[in-house]
Symmetry: D2
Subunit: 182 residues, 4 copies
Amino acid sequence: MAGMATVGTPDPNSGWLADDELEAIRRRLPLIYVEAVPVRVDGLGRVTEVGLLLRASEGELTRTIVSGRVMHGETIREALFRHLEKDLGPMAFPQLPASPVPFTVAEYFPWPTEGGYLDTRQHAVALAFVVPVTGTCEPRQDALELTWLRPAEAVSDEITADMEGGRGALVKAALASVGALA
Amino acid sequence: MAGMATVGTPDPNSGWLADDELEAIRRRLPLIYVEAVPVRVDGLGRVTEVGLLLRASEGELTRTIVSGRVMHGETIREALFRHLEKDLGPMAFPQLPASPVPFTVAEYFPWPTEGGYLDTRQHAVALAFVVPVTGTCEPRQDALELTWLRPAEAVSDEITADMEGGRGALVKAALASVGALA
Amino acid sequence: MAGMATVGTPDPNSGWLADDELEAIRRRLPLIYVEAVPVRVDGLGRVTEVGLLLRASEGELTRTIVSGRVMHGETIREALFRHLEKDLGPMAFPQLPASPVPFTVAEYFPWPTEGGYLDTRQHAVALAFVVPVTGTCEPRQDALELTWLRPAEAVSDEITADMEGGRGALVKAALASVGALA
Amino acid sequence: MAGMATVGTPDPNSGWLADDELEAIRRRLPLIYVEAVPVRVDGLGRVTEVGLLLRASEGELTRTIVSGRVMHGETIREALFRHLEKDLGPMAFPQLPASPVPFTVAEYFPWPTEGGYLDTRQHAVALAFVVPVTGTCEPRQDALELTWLRPAEAVSDEITADMEGGRGALVKAALASVGALA
């Protein structure tokens, strides 16, 4: 898995920067990302299910969450909405949080660190949110499917070991923040 | 206003404790409350309006938010839902937060304190939440109306001065927590 | 373990209420508690160790954290300080948080619930904080010792299974809130 | 004030990127910043004073807080510590938070926005923290002094109007997050 640990998904808008420019910057500056753990909630707001994206990459299956870069001129909320739509489709109807404060800040480095988050491409600082989705999710083409798991399943060793870049810890922290980590 | 500063609204279920029993306990133990600042949000989750309840009490008009006691055996979420329904009606469709962590903890004492929250009846510890409502609000009988205000209006001196028990500070803290306090 | 799951420690001040009065109230009203997970931090504020209290109770060894009731007229901060001093001794020098917002709210019921927190004596709502301590801890008499564990040890199955009232989940949530849950 | 609204202070390490490179990047990518509101706390953790930096810039006096860029390869905590030391001196002894979650995320744009934060140089996303300092502060050369104000003074119209880039709202949000906004 090491070779494929990446933050998020190929960005169709990266044309805002030419690929080689972005490549050069990635070695010089931390990039800012947003990440979202999609959840289903019941009528009282309790998280009942967690949505994980399954992806085939270089012949391996890995799991991840919604993740992507914040563009110049774009707000955190706009970036979050854009990446949710890109990864879950236009009918997911995410409920973006009223508060701009993430449940955690995940720091990805291109080398192993104590924090545990790894992105071989870059140093990225990700603001991570839990986002209830109320509609129908249709993961876009490079994701094979979105799997809904009960909280206890989502944090099982079997699932977290498959997650890209150390995001198993992120899913645990997401569930802890909503009181759903047993 | 001093004489009427109270946490929340008369509780129809206080029959779970006889009135004189509750009265006696109020002088001996802190009670636990939930409070909710109702808001309207736009498609990106930004707070656009704040809902304040207008109430006539002993000949004075005061403003307040949703507030009430947590009963024995009841979860915080259940109490929050019950009081939202009682104060805003059954068609308000509140979106309860996925996280059980309040934006602040307001401590009401029956005497003036540095914290600034006052409840002449009791010592109450209130867990306060910002709750988006998506439906139609019909405040119940002892509230004259629910007024929707823009964030800047809701924290104006004119409005906060009218709020029961020092809740002007609570509304400011609510808006600060969602990044809407200018 | 079921029979001995309790919130916190015998309260020397319970004389503020006679024992039988408190007993009666416990069946009628939720009580409000504060809980603290003591930690050691390094110069950058990172949690390096977690302190768990070891206690012998009815012939069994269990682990717990700092926990106790909020008294009438007492602020959350005062209660937190009082219980930290009672459980860790006068030389622990805890750094109370600037923010009154807990990392989680743990709801203990006298019957099993989905939330997982159990207190056979009562319904208690606990505001839980991570508290760095900088001095020397001398646990009071009914605790055998305070054990400092690395975060990964503190959340191991071996340790969390021994914790009173489901507090293993609370320690996990505490570490998740400080970015130290791997 | 418009012309001088800037995020933070000249960065001696900007040599990590040549000035013209940084200039080019600033028009293409959001930069990530950390900001700290220095406070004094009492023995129970309550905020008693807020520290604001006074600075002379282009003939005007403005007030600001600790602020600066996160470098490639640097953690949020390291950046926070570095900028606190740079702005407050080596004897300030800041207590960095155990939690990596900011009290708010301030989004600075080079054009006026609803959010209200302005930085004429760039789009910057700032993670903002309240940081108790326990030692002696000696602001570095381009700051005239560090002024300690009571919370009520710090959020007065007189003070907030002088703050760079809309940071008056940030100070209000900081105080709201610690329950000290009246």
